[in-house]
């Protein structure tokens, strides 16, 4: 099993505040890693440093052994790191299919072939397969803005997988999604992992969701990694119970 992501001694300071304080962890191929921790513990900042949205103050991020710290988000994305955001981010005016094509088109050919090539960049069939996989068939041509919140969350996740990424970082995919939709989402993410070997890192507050989805969980508190282990170990770890889960 190869190591997809390696974070070594990552720190991020904003003025006098240390949001991320020497965080190290790794993600292996085919893993679903959960990241939990109280609000403001540095989960999203860690994500943003990994993804080139923020420049880390110290430390290193390696993708398949290659140092990628300092690359810009589009470059990282084209190297195979995709993400979703905490707040829902689909393009409301574009249709579901157009959203998916957009999510894959920049990974194909050069600028000129995108201008003079096919309008769907040859991604129409792949987009339709993804629509089928996430069970959005009847909505393929609807503007994404007309979908329900849960459906938009599904689309958001589907977009992250469109380019066949090495690694996908999902920031609170379950936030605000109703229980039925949540089961669908979990089911689809699992299938993505099992059938296509997709590797994820998931930030989430919903404990049932994360404990049943992930193969390994890391707990963050005050910018540091507090614990790293299988869900069952995490659940009984005294330090984690103290800092986050509660008695």
């Amino acid at each position: 099993m190869s190591r997809v992501l390696e974070v070594v001694g990552l720190s991020k300071r904003f003025g006098g505040i240390t949001a991320v304080d020497g965080v190290s962890f790794h993600v292996d191929e085919g893993e679903i890693l959960g990241v939990i921790g109280p609000n403001g513990c540095g989960k999203s900042t860690t994500f943003n440093c990994i993804l080139g949205q923020l420049a880390p103050t110290a430390g290193e991020v390696r993708l398949d052994g290659r140092v990628v710290s300092g690359l810009r988000p589009p470059e990282l994305n084209r190297l195979g790191v995709s993400r979703t955001f905490q707040l829902l981010q689909v393009f409301p005016q574009l249709s579901v299919r157009e959203n998916l094509i957009l999510a894959g088109q920049e990974h194909r050919g050069g600028m000129l072939s995108r201008l003079f090539g096919r309008p769907d960049a040859g991604l129409g069939p792949a987009a339709d397969r993804m629509i089928g996989f996430f069970k959005l068939d009847h909505l393929a041509d609807s503007p994404a803005g007309e979908l329900s919140y849960g459906q938009q969350k599904l689309l958001d996740a589907a977009m992250a997988f469109m380019a066949g990424p090495r690694l996908t970082l999902l920031d609170e995919p379950a936030g605000g999604v109703n229980p039925t939709m949540l089961t669908d989402l979990k089911d689809r993410l699992r299938a993505m992992n099992r059938e296509q070997g997709a590797t994820f890192v998931v930030i989430e507050h919903n404990m049932d969701f994360i404990m049943s989805l992930c193969s390994r969980v890391i707990v963050m508190a005050q910018g540091k990694v507090l614990a790293d282990g299988a869900p069952d170990e995490i659940r009984v770890n005294p330090a984690v119970i103290e800092a986050y889960l509660g008695h």
Binding site: Q89, F91, L102, E106, L115, G117
Partner: protein
Amino acid sequence: MTRVERLVASAGGVAIIAALTIGPLSLGRYGLFILSQWAVMSIAAIGLNLTLGYAGQVSLAQGAFVGVGAYAAAIMTTHGLPLSLAVVVAMGLAFAVGWLLGYPALRVQHHYLAFVTLAFSTLAFLVFRNEEWLTGGVYGISDVPRPSLLGFSTAKPLPFYYLCLFVLAVVTIAFRGMTRSPWGRAFVALRENPLRAASLGVDTRRYTLMAFAIGSALGGLAGALYAPLTQFVDPTPFTLTLSLDLLLMVIVGGAGSFFGPYLGAMVAVLLPEWLRVAESYYLIAYAAMVMLLLVYSPTGLMGIVERRQRERSARVASARRAAAKATLADGVGR
């Protein structure tokens, strides 16, 4: 779109093309000048619509790019060079300058960006006015010739109008192709949510610069037609006023909508002519009408059209639902 709607749309398209082709045969010199001006300004507005409407970058410099194109064409054609070459140079120059002007847009947005482009607009005007050796200064460049194409002279108003119309048609087709390509999708993504776009691999820097450069190049193209249209080029038409007029065309027509610039240019070019009866009050009347329009429909004229379409399809859908319910009730009743 249903088949009927598609049929209506194509019939409408054919009617508009026929009207634009056959209608002007009966027009006089002045009418043809105004129509040619509409075609030229439409091209410049389409360019600004790309920068502003699709990619979401505010520019107050489109008038300056029309000026750059006009001077390039005037200088070259009065020195005996063909207009076709002048068009290539005008577009190339505007593209290059537009690309450079796009760099500030990578750092500043909205009204800050507007100020940067405003500065460029002023700079361009100063160059047009002060570099007499090149531009003729305030005296301008007169006797700009109209070209001959395949042995046909376009010196008369009607053939020159057809030339403008032809170029507008080419621009329309090319622009349609671009907005439907992955580029069009990337431009919309850039306007709606640049952060998310970047996370999907969209190189937002490169697309921002492209939106500026291509929009500016279309301004340059419009300028290269403007020079032989008026046959006289001096600095006054290319002040900030023209940039603001073009901005008005895009917003009145409907920023980000494909047909917006054509309508906006029509309003900006024709309405002042129709309002001539109001004499000195015409500017007040014009301003009042524009303000009323934007209060009624902030998304411009195309916004009104789209609202009508939405209302109609909602009516059709509710009628269908009612009919389905009636049949259902009927079935239950039996």
